[in-house]
């Protein structure tokens, strides 16, 4: 990739540009090649250092001069931290993976469908081409989709510094609006999203004034059905209606309901009472509260159908076939005890389950 500057290159002078056309405040710039170098640089900079990943949130803040970090540590030239790992138990996404790459990955969509369901709503494709999924969780925008996904699936962030490594669960990592538990000197190396268990369906619904903009309100839902397709367990995570993703446990109000005749009123009421929306130029707090309930209703319907579509109701005791990896827990005992998602033999409706791993 090296190119000799000079002969084959047109070198232009910057002398006439001066400071014009420069919007962001000045910063010292670092572009480490290796993770070790990145950690050493971040460690030396301490409070002064800020990680630059895709820049789709940080550069707007710099352009508007809402932030003025003394130094940026750009991940653009790192030769590592760009992998997506799909295993029997989880999807692990490293720091440099863009939203769009993650969204398009068929293995990811099969293992953790909620990721694609949510990423379809994240910004516009042009933004997704640069913005990273880890960066969006680190940024902790209250209207961002992926923090809700991480919370809903019980995922965690892996952070490294010169002092060592920490693993922080979603609930502890997401502290408030634009506030995550990333300490000075730390680099988030990956986010891990556990695969949902058997008969678990997910969905993401939101409303924005223009598809791709931050949502006025949105919700991710996870529902697990029992063997005869009654709700066993349900949870929702709301975005845009509080300081961070707000998770609401719905098991108490939905347990035992048949998947094809859900009574959602109590769940919607509980959700509306649990969120804390505020007003802005796009919507009043009341409208957002109402909207959140409507979106929850839709998402629940989609999620239970998604769950039911994975396996027919169980007439007796035989659970689904073994997980994608034959060596995974055979699952002949308690259904749901196996950590791996079952891939039904043959294809479930909706084509969710093509196993490409």
């Amino acid at each position: 990739m090296c190119r000799a500057v000079g002969s084959g290159t047109t070198a232009e002078s910057a002398s006439d540009t001066g400071d014009d056309g420069v919007k962001p405040p000045p910063f010292a710039y670092h572009a480490p090649r290796t993770e070790e170098e990145a950690l050493a640089t971040l460690g030396a900079l301490g409070e002064d250092g800020k990680v630059l990943a895709g820049g789709q949130s940080l550069i707007p803040l710099l352009n508007m001069r809402l932030a003025a970090p003394p130094a940026l540590v750009d991940l653009a030239r790192l030769e590592t931290l760009d992998r997506i790992a799909v295993t029997d138990t989880h999807v692990r996404v490293e720091a440099r993976v863009t939203h769009e790459r993650l969204r398009r990955d068929e293995r990811v969509a099969a293992a953790v469908p909620l990721l694609r369901q949510a990423l379809d709503w994240v910004a516009h494709p042009v933004i997704r081409n640069r913005g990273t999924s880890v960066g969006s969780i680190a940024h902790a925008d209250p209207a961002a989709e992926l923090p809700a996904v991480l919370a809903l699936l019980g995922g965690w962030m892996q952070l490294r510094s010169v002092e060592g490594e920490r693993t922080v669960e979603a609930g502890d990592y997401l502290l408030g609006p634009l506030e995550s538990d990333t300490r000075p000197g730390e680099l988030v190396v990956a986010a891990t999203f556990p695969r949902p268990g058997v008969r678990t369906g997910t969905a993401f619904e939101e409303l924005a004034r223009r598809h791709g903009d931050y949502a006025m309100a949105g919700v991710g839902v996870r529902v697990t059905l029992d063997a005869d397709h009654h709700v066993g367990d349900a949870s929702a995570a709301f975005i845009g209606v509080g300081g961070t993703a707000i998770q609401v446990e719905l098991t108490e109000v939905l347990r035992g309901q048949p998947y094809d005749a859900l009574d959602k009123a109590e769940a919607i009421g509980l959700a509306r009472a649990s969120i804390d929306p505020t007003a802005d130029i796009h919507a009043t707090a009341g409208y957002r509260r109402h909207l959140a309930g409507v979106l929850l209703g839709r998402a629940l319907e989609t999620a239970v159908r998604h769950a039911a579509g994975q396996a027919p109701p169980d007439s007796g005791s035989a659970p689904e076939g073994p997980g994608p990896t034959e060596s995974a827990a055979p699952g002949s005992a308690a259904p749901g005890s196996a950590a791996t998602e079952s891939a039904p033999t043959g294809h479930a409706s909706g084509g969710y389950r093509e196993e490409t791993a």
């Binding site: 190119r3 500057v5 010292a28 170098e37």
Partner: protein
Amino acid sequence: MSTTDHAATATTSPGGTPSGTDVEVVVTVNGVPRSATVPARRLLSDFLRHDLRLTGTHVGCEHGVCGACTVLLDGAPVRSCLAFAVSIHGREITTIEGLAADDGTLHPVQQAFQDEHGLQCGYCTPGFVMSACGFLADEPAPDDQTIREGMSGNLCRCTGYAGILAAVKQAAGALRTTGADPRAKHDPAAGGQR
């Protein structure tokens, strides 16, 4: 990496590049290697416009919302106002100047914008055209709804969008006929463009 990689050499030194120090950035723009020495905080949009004097890329909002500044980075559409030039050192950019043929024949997407009245003042047009080129590379045969979603990241204050959507549809058809890569410089010899 060799030491001719100036920007990289400067930026990986233990202290990094202190604020105010200029870095040399080398990128391939529309197939031609170009370089300039700029502050690290130079946005790619300003690098193209001010340093390389390629003023076809327009700048509207400078926070990622309007899409006027869209260019292709290694073939994928990105906001040039949301990248620092130094971050894309060594990579390839295509701007609106890189689409028409050398003899001036318009690229099928440009031609379609003209035919379908996809522009009025033209301020948003370079961004729309570049977004459309990236979009059509992924979606060669989009339906109307897919086109709407694909173009939803760009704003136009004049046209009301109907002409733009029609233009993208026409361009999709034209490109399917010739089989040309929507992101490549137009080659009039390769297909039935007028």
